[in-house]
Amino acid sequence: VTTASTLDARVTSLWDAVAHEIAAGHRFAGLMGTQREDSMLLSVHLAQPGGVVTRDIALPAGVRSYPALTPVVGAAFWYERELHDLFGIVPLDHPRLEPLIRPQSEVLARHVLGSGLFTMPHGPVRSGVMESIEYLVETPGEDIPHLNLRVFYKHRGIEKRFEQLTARDGVLLAERTEGVASVAHALAYCHAVERIAGLTEVPGRAALVRVLYAELERLVAHLDVAVRLADAAGLAVATARFGTHKERVVRLVGRMCGSRFGRGVVIPGGVSDPPQVGGSELLTEISRLERSINGDAQALMGTASFLDRLRGTGPLRPERASEHGALGPVGKASGFSDDARLNRPYDGYPALSLGDQREHEAGDALARLRLRWDEVRQSFHLLRQATDELDDAGDGPFAVPCQIGSGRATGWAEAPAGEVLYDVRAQDGRLVRCRPRSASFHNLVLFPEVFAGDILTDFPFIEASFGLSPAGVAL
């Protein structure tokens, strides 16, 4: 018989073990819950070189609370609020257990008090073409001493929708979880499903085709950040130029597979079709794109009035980035890098070189943009290698059968905004649980922390430099 106190002790000792592993260099990659008939399963995912390990603990039926992880591992802050929203279990001693993805309609109490301070609600319907999210900006008129987020508006019940889908249908939903990272989500999902099926690798040509689409997706996302930053600075020509480049890359993806977002390409077991653009034509197109993008990127990084807006804006301290395990460009620009393509390589990446990696530490919007141009360079490097390798790869299938029975596995992929992680459980060939965790979800919690010293007009720069999608946050 498990008494409440021995259960609490078991949970606490697991949290301590997790904290030790993090201190030893592993990265907290997520805390997820699974409701089972007889218990509630809590799973902590820890990323390390070579893979992601999972530590599970079951709360017996009827137990509706447990000692929170957040006081020990701060990065679990949003994960536990979400657990509370979805399953109703209470993490005891959580610092702020307000709803995150459940509607929260009451007016939030102001965090900063004083004369002349007011809260400016921004969203969920925002000017321009933006995804729905609400920022509650506490301000005396210029500074932003405090910022609150409400992300629940877009909650679509994606996790629940996965249940009972077949592996083949699941990838269609994964692609539509976070549209700007369709390929990365499809990859992370398929990696998990392939692991369940006992498939250690996909055919060589499929592995290379997957790299092509993943890197083109990265180019599109990084160019989009450039468009938004240039637009925020009022650089009309730069905005137009990067917008045109982005359209060219998107059209190339569309010509290759029929979808401008690379949807329908990645399937469990490989890829659905080879690219409909030949190797030499692809190389020509890649070189042409690289030349024109590089030229404009150099001009942008030489435009003093633009750099002034980014330098020192929205700084994320390196200690904070590594403590939280900040993903993708947000982490890398603050000196914390855990790129899944390097540390937990998959598909074609083990055989390809990412090229030189520069260190960035400034952590401001400028560092995040510099880092993205580095990644653009790496993507072109990878695209050329993958195209060459694909030409030399001879014949062979683009997919192998991938039959899932029952099992559970994690899968990951490096999206443009950072690592996407899937925790998938299947039973008799159907998904019974699928929990995507986007980089947007993990990183967005850092966003309100970087406004020290910044003012309202810096907001669009900081937002664009984070490069996150609310769709990936409120699933």
């Binding site: 909650h155 019940g157 539509r176 369709s182 137009a240 982005k246 401008r260 001009a299």
Partner: protein
């Protein structure tokens, strides 16, 4: 001299002439799946091919096979598995003025309905001539539709040349572009945006999610099955997501502004 002056001139004019002139990219675009030859299969058997239930027997005549492009997420499974029956539609003119208009083959009563719908729309759009302002609301999209709508502002599509602009307030908007299946959290903000727009106003549902809920359609208790459950929709655009040209076509369809030469758009 700022380097941007010369850079701006570097590639010449990249802007499409569409709809005044045909655009090769638009013409060759691969739209939603369609039926190329009904064949002799039982429609109920073919229904199993589609993950979103777009394929099935005609509710009125169960021997007839119909495909609802408004539910098609363009996964291509039907085209791959039964290329004798299904194919891709070509071009970007996939939008329709009625929900039933997205079903192929065209349902018989659609033509009459369409005449009535066109007349009603003509009343609304009479006031909207050369200058039109758009407002966008994301009602639970995956973020891809926003990318395609935003692309209308890049120099390749440049909707400003057609007198179409985005506005920062619903009070100045003539057209509401809605994306996403209608997440419950967005019902109220969407409704309030719609109510905040002056008459006459046009609502365009952009993407299969907005039309029918798409992959979320039947199985999510956190969303509607399309934004038609929340606001009255005038133009329906399938696609997952629809490309910028398809969105532009839908806009012009809603505004009853077609190409200058005779064509599908000028048929009113």
């Amino acid at each position: 001299v700022s380097p941007w002056v010369l850079r701006g001139l570097r590639d010449g004019v990249v802007t499409t002439r569409w709809p005044a002139r045909p655009d090769p990219y638009a013409q060759t675009w691969r739209g939603p799946a369609t039926i190329i030859r009904p064949g002799s299969d039982d429609p109920a058997d073919l229904a199993a091919l589609c993950p979103t239930g777009a394929i099935g027997p005609n509710p009125g005549a169960s021997q007839e096979l119909v495909l609802d492009t408004g539910r098609c997420v363009l996964c291509g499974r039907c085209v791959t598995e039964r290329p004798d029956v299904f194919g891709w539609s070509e071009g970007i003119e996939s939008a329709a003025l009625t929900r039933a208009g997205l079903v192929v083959p065209e349902l018989p009563e659609t033509e009459q309905n369409l005449a009535a719908v066109r007349a009603a729309l003509a009343d609304k759009t009479a006031a909207l001539r050369r200058s039109v302002h758009l407002r966008h609301v994301d009602a639970g999209s995956d973020g891809a539709e926003e990318q395609e709508i935003a692309a209308l502002l890049n120099p390749v599509y440049d909707i400003h040349r057609l007198g179409i602009f985005f506005t920062a307030t619903p009070r100045h908007a003539d057209v509401l572009l809605v994306t996403g299946a209608g997440a419950h959290g967005m019902r109220e903000p969407l409704r309030r945006t719609y109510d905040g727009m002056p008459d006459p106003k046009i609502v365009i549902a952009i993407g299969t999610d907005a039309v029918s809920g798409g992959m979320l359609g039947a199985g999510s208790d956190a969303t509607s099955r399309g934004v038609g459950e929340v606001v009255p929709v005038d133009v329906w655009v399938p696609g997952s997501p629809p490309p910028p040209f398809a969105i532009l076509h839908a806009l012009l369809l809603g505004l009853r502004r077609g190409p200058s030469r005779p064509g599908p758009l000028g048929a009113s």
